[in-house]
Symmetry: C2
Subunit: 453 residues, 2 copies
């Protein structure tokens, strides 16, 4: 059996939902379908989720938001009309949103609840469409299915007992249409997942149901070896491992949020990334182990928006605990870091810049100065990280040389390098203004010229 | 004024001491002379310090060590005879050692006290020789001069007040002959410095006396760009900065112990490394700032004997404090580490292998397992680190590419790379069995071919 998840653009319109129907019904293994809220139909379109955020905010401020609610309902009505569904489904959806708006006394949960309505009602609508086509299908609500999560608003983590509950979905004889993005706390509160929410729901279901495959339908034919905004028509990746996928999505690879697939990975369920608009394309398989194809590098990811905290102190390495103390200050300030390349008398801590508000930066600076008494502290901004990823890399001589030479050929200075033993990636830090040139040059070196290992 | 320190081989015999006399008296700026104990006269010779250790150990065990004492005295007598000094100096030295042997009730301090006798008596003997040549010279004892140190046996640290005391040596009108390697605690205990002891004494005196130059006489013409045991006749370094020297000596560069010159560095006193056996050679100047000579790399150091603790845990970066906790465990186990290259789900900690006894390793393993619950922990042994050093490196595009390519050309796999921003060095981790090939290839790339930046 397969769990198939369809992203926002795959369920954005009647036309798209018809494609979903064709895909699902063309393979009887496709028994569990996870759906997002209707996404963009064209590049300037507004996603339902954004309409819902506007609705919630307006309602919180003014106690009414008729125009915004109408915009949301219009999206569903439009789809229902074109799918030739009966009017009552739209009335049902409107009633549902009206009920959600009554929960505005708990501001924190209110937004979660309104947003989740996007997926929830789309699942109802799609189930109705499947039924109208004479297919046995039913909408299943996460509460009813027992998808229990931790009670962290906007950051739900699945609870272990959910897996047993959800396994029972196997008993359903028809197609299950399941809304992505949210679950319920043991106390019965609706709570949404963090970024990549619908992907997470699909991954949890695939793991719980011990699916043979988790299909993740999106609007690209495959995962690409490099960001298509940087390199035109990059190579498609036919197969990559969980670890590789994770390294790639970690550093700005658009397809998945880095942790979204974790439940499937842990359960060793293979994942296939496919295109709703071109379902015949083989897509990209994400697996626990893969054959190598001669190229030790599977992909190149890059992301802007990092900064480096550079701390210098003569004889730093004589001070037992220096590095630990620096990391502890960061921890106490709630900052998470990415890498810590070090010299003898210096330590670098690379972190995502957006974490550091002006106030936090001032306090951090102050604490480092007074608690560590360094000779020098400075913050270097506008750093981009490039990750070169591939499981065979650390067994292949010359990958580092090729990568570093490629960056040099682009006339880019490498500010930082970080490569650990047994790693599936190599990290380079460069200036943000240099990153695209560097990435293009690395891509050329590993993917455009025949690779000689 | 110059402070001139002469190492063990420079004061190992009458012939060597005559060279020292010629060197010191050829420049009237050489007013403070720091001497070691007599070192090896030929490659199989036994250093006085080792004779003294044998003496102390035998005496502690049997309450007498006549033969061992005689061997020590014989070294001094031999020198004194050949320098045609009067017999009483040898009697004085023997009496001194006899007195030191009486202190054996405090076992811990006993060894320090016996070892320090090597330098102390050599200083007396050399002062006597200078006097016998009609030069105004005097032996000065560290206690009398006020060289106060912390009371840590074998690991003395200079106390701040020493600098004012020692400055008064400027008032001496003759040449001061000062024994290296030890000072006195404020309570009057003799305490020796850690590794590089006589170098430390010289550096402290140079800083205290605000010398124009600290000359460090040894038995090589200069500091070499690479270990002469790995590369034949390597290039001599004419000038390098304190930071560069420190990075080089840190990773197995034989000339200095990494912290020995610290007091001179802090006081910004230039240091010159010269050869007692070829004093006309210009030697190597170590300075705060230097001109660049077109080659961004000044030297290559390497050292064996490291190990890597590799810890892998899926979603490690979601666990705030993971890295800090690992470093804290190391700290609590009294282990100091060198570098921590990291991946997304993995962390490497490189440390000197000799720190990790079997018992400590078992406990460390156990603590990491139970306190951090990683997916995988392993210890990788027999790792060598290579440091490529040069202050201009991080401003020069292509250094990393050249270095990495050179290692690849030697057919060596790079296990780890670590380069921070603003660093004066780049670190590579390789297998111990590969290190010499890698170093030779890097040396060729940067020093044998004309450098094109």
């Amino acid at each position: 059996m397969k769990v198939s998840k369809f992203g926002g653009s795959s369920v954005a319109s009647a036309e798209q939902i018809r494609k979903v129907f064709d895909i699902v019904t063309s393979d009887e293994e496709r028994r569990i379908v996870v759906v997002s809220a209707p996404g963009k139909r064209f590049s300037d379109d507004v996603k339902t989720t954004d309409l819902l955020i506007a609705l919630a905010e307006k309602y919180l401020q003014y106690g009414e938001a008729q125009k915004e609610l109408e915009a949301v309902i219009a999206r569903y009505r439009d789809i229902a009309d074109q799918l030739e569904l009966e009017e009552d489904i739209v009335a049902e959806i409107e009633e549902d949103f009206q009920a959600r708006l009554q929960l505005s006394d708990d501001t924190e949960r209110f937004l979660d609840c309104i947003k989740a309505g996007g997926e929830d009602n789309n699942a109802k609508l799609i189930a109705r469409y499947f039924q109208s086509c004479g297919v046995k299908a039913e909408y299943v609500n996460p509460k009813e299915a027992g998808l229990l999560v931790s009670d962290e608003v906007g950051n739900a983590q699945v609870l272990q007992e959910s897996y047993d509950h959800l396994y029972r979905l196997r008993e359903k004889t028809g197609i299950v249409i399941f809304p992505g993005f949210f679950g319920y706390s043991p106390e019965g509160n609706l709570v949404t997942f963090p970024r990549g929410g619908s992907d997470i729901t699909g991954a949890i279901l695939a793991a719980a149901l011990k699916a043979d495959l988790y299909e993740n339908f999106t609007d690209v034919d495959s995962v690409y070896a490099v960001n298509p905004n940087i390199v035109d028509h990059p190579k498609e990746i036919t197969e990559l491992t969980y670890k590789e996928m994770r390294e790639l999505s970690y550093a700005g690879f658009g397809v998945f949020h880095e942790e979204a697939l974790a439940p499937a990975f842990r359960a060793k369920i293979p994942v296939c990334v496919k295109n709703t608009n071109n379902p015949k394309a083989p897509g990209t398989m994400i697996v626990a182990k893969r054959r190598t194809n001669g190229n030790p590098v599977v992909g190149i990811a890059s992301d802007n928006g990092f900064l480096n905290i550079y701390v210098e102190k003569y004889l730093m390495n004589r001070e037992i605990g220096f590095g630990r103390k620096l990391l502890q200050i960061l921890e106490e300030e709630g900052l998470s870091y990415e890498h810590t390349p070090s010299g003898i008398d210096s330590l670098n801590v690379i972190l995502r810049a957006k974490q550091l508000t002006e106030e936090k930066e001032a306090r951090l600076f102050d604490r480092i100065q007074t608690e560590l008494e360094p000779d020098k502290v400075k913050i270097e901004r506008n750093i981009a990280l490039i990750m070169i990823v591939g499981e065979a890399m650390n067994k292949t001589i010359g990958v580092a040389a090729k990568a570093v030479s490629a960056i040099q050929n682009a006339n880019v200075n490498i500010a930082m390098i970080n490569q650990g033993s047994s790693e599936v990636s190599m990290m380079f830090g460069v200036k943000e203004s240099d990153v695209e040139n560097a990435v293009r040059s690395i891509y050329q070196a590993f993917f455009e010229k025949a690779y000689v290992s």
